[in-house]
Symmetry: C2
Subunit: 217 residues, 2 copies
């Protein structure tokens, strides 16, 4: 079965580095990770944050090596899936194939939003947008019951995701706190007013939900 093999990893461990020879794809079973690139000047740009349920590294399949690095932000459980398993599935079970395509699309949709954020949203709106995305994704996978959740992401990491400096992220978080929208404290986010936060971010949640007929609803 897809994803039966499991590997446990610690925070700050790297699942793969850019350019590593990997053809496996990884299903995140548990924990927070981030996919990023390092520039020649050492700057880092996080591309997106794979969470449980996400499949990461389709690039590996096609290219035979990793095109981004993937690092654990918390203790994490992953299931490697071999290239041949994926190809096998693509050429036999069309229901599963559709699921995989959906995962690819999910991926892509988040990258798209991310790009829109970094290119055209102010630091404040951009940050709010990412936080809302996290909250909704966690709700979708059932990892968030009340309006708060663990958030093993330092302000520096957040900065790399948002294309900002850690210092500026800190100031933005203060703004969000002082506006009573949300608080980030000791590795935990508490959302005080999700509606206002979504309004601030002009957040359109449709890109996060699977299409009709995909789930059992």
């Amino acid at each position: 079965m897809l994803g039966s093999r499991q590997r446990r990893m610690e925070a700050h461990q790297v699942i793969f580095y850019e350019n590593d020879a990997v053809s496996d794809v990884f299903l995140i079973q548990r924990g927070w990770t981030c996919a990023y690139k390092i520039l020649s000047d050492g700057a880092r740009q996080i591309i997106y944050f794979p969470l449980p349920g996400d499949i990461v590294g389709f690039s590996n399949l096609v290219v035979g090596k990793a095109t981004t690095s993937l690092e654990c932000l918390s203790e994490t459980i992953i299931s490697p899936i071999s290239a041949s398993a994926i190809y096998g599935v693509l050429t036999s079970d069309s229901k599963v194939a559709q699921g995989i395509l959906w995962a690819m699309e999910q991926d892509r949709a988040m990258m798209t939003e991310h790009l829109v954020s970094v290119g055209r949203r102010s630091a404040l709106v951009r940050t709010a947008h990412l936080i809302v995305e996290f909250a909704l994704r966690l709700r979708l996978i059932g990892a968030q019951t009340d309006n708060s959740f663990n958030f093993p992401v330092s302000q520096g990491v957040l900065a790399d995701a948002l294309g900002l400096t850690a210092i500026h992220v800190n100031r933005i978080l203060r703004q969000l706190r002082e506006a009573d929208l949300m608080t980030l404290q000791s590795g935990r986010i508490a959302i005080h007013d999700i509606d206002q936060l979504m309004a601030l971010a002009a957040f359109d949640p449709t890109y996060l939900s699977p299409p009709r007929g995909m789930t059992d609803d």
Copy 2:
């Protein structure tokens, strides 16, 4: 055969708008296009520029509607490919399936670079990077023989791609011109020093080339 049906479109025509019900995917046969999103404040973020040989709109397949808009920048020829054709191909011909996965990856790789650009590269470097990407892609598809090429992209459009204002793009282009690296004039880019331009952009071309065993080399 995939891509035998052809549609001709004019510059500024829109192939599909975000949220249009389309399940087709499109093979660009000829011309320049751009995929973008419009924000609620009217700002536009271009996600990437599909060129001939690219397949656009895998999202359509999975979601059943377009997740970005796709517009022609020049006269363009496209071939619609139905969802069923894609699925059919995915479940029979694994050689073609691999090609399609490669196209998806290509897409993704360009988006990644784009995101890295907008998040972490200066306006100058970012602009240079995009121009170099164009030059190399055109060379790969055989559409560029000497060191210049048609470029039906206004400075405003370029700005939307780079997350800058048209005015600033203009100033950046002046810098590139005055440094004798490249010139953009009346819809044509002339590259004077590709090596220096690539050095400036810290351009790593590997993400543009198909993997070993994919082509006939």
